[in-house]
Symmetry: C2
Subunit: 215 residues, 2 copies
């Protein structure tokens, strides 16, 4: 029932708060499908959520773009700082970060207008599923930028916000390209209770990680 | 006079808004010295400024840490995405980004507590100016993380927020390790007028880029 409500919300371009679980990060991300990104939704993320605004891509999409994990780039560089590679975070997973990008048509890249633009052009590229996708990706975007690409490892392998968010897109039969941002409270992650209150106040949908992977 | 007020503000741990100029990004960053980073100051940056929370390091500090620019890592990786390297932004400069890090003692890395911790431990490391600085940097932090390191190219070479901020630290005779975050308004960068009002309301100091480099 909750998942159905979340799927309906996703399809109409609305936001959903996904709480991963007390045993993992104990954190909710505010998410929506990238094709609906507009300056005002980016503004909502930065004002109400407060974390890093990221764009999660399905593993098969990343493959088509020839998009590596950030750690692959760091390791391949053979620079002394490649020893700093994060193999496992405090909550037990490998990081989901790929590279940070901007669309070449932006100015600084960080404004609501610019972040919405980078995300929407990426969504259009991925939804086109064209043969020259990789070529267009490399030509139309640059790195470093202000949109942090993430790559999903599949819900069966990792149960982070990246995978949970992409699993919801899969259930909604939408392309795996999703915007997400951590919901923060004073000092710590926004509490489960405060997340639920925010969701209620703004008529959004609240979802728990296990709703998406528990049989 | 303004610069003197900014130096005094910096020394007591206060925030300063630096507006780069209409001819460049047309944007103000909210800044303070990294040694004063606390969870509540990080919360102020994410709530009131809204951009990316970064940590700018002087070129000579970066050298001691053997810290490369992100673009150096990307190029050295020889991965197909290295063709995406940003050589020049829309406002004419090379990007200042180095690598993103977290202190190994954090949990997720993104909360106010975690970001303040990463920044403060970095400030302590840099202020120690110890011989094993590079070793401690590589051992105590991991990448990717949630604090975006920037490297200053010197005010004579680049007049971005990174260099302006570090120039102010230099004038205050403080170590070149500074926290900064872009001030955003709806859609666009926060206007010069709104920045000045925010500064007045919160008893901060407003500085223009040219105050720091014009003779």
């Amino acid at each position: 029932m909750t998942v159905e409500a979340a799927v309906a919300q996703l399809k109409k371009g609305g936001m959903i708060a996904i709480y991963d679980g007390d045993e993992r990060e104990g954190e909710a991300d505010l998410i929506f499908h990238a094709s609906f990104a507009r300056p005002d939704s980016i503004e909502t993320l930065r004002r109400d959520a407060g974390g890093l605004i990221c764009l999660a891509l399905d593993g098969d999409v990343a493959k088509k773009l020839d998009l590596p994990f950030y750690t692959d780039i760091l390791a391949a560089s053979n620079h002394p700082v490649s020893r700093m590679e994060c193999k496992k975070t405090a909550y037990g997973d490998k990081p989901a970060f790929a590279i940070p990008i901007n669309y070449k048509g932006v100015y600084t890249g960080i404004t609501d207008n610019d972040r919405a633009l980078t995300i929407r052009i990426m969504a259009e590229l991925i939804e086109s599923d064209s043969k020259d996708m990789q070529e267009r990706f490399v030509n139309d975007f640059y790195s470093p930028g202000h949109i942090f690409l993430l790559i999903g490892r599949g819900i069966e392998n990792r149960k982070g916000h990246t995978e949970l968010t992409l699993e919801l897109a899969r259930k909604a039969k939408m392309k795996g390209v999703m915007v997400l941002c951590e919901m923060l409270g004073s000092g710590k992650a926004l509490s489960r209770k405060d997340v639920k209150e925010y969701v209620k106040r703004n008529k959004l949908v609240f979802l728990e990680g296990k709703d998406l992977w528990q049989k």
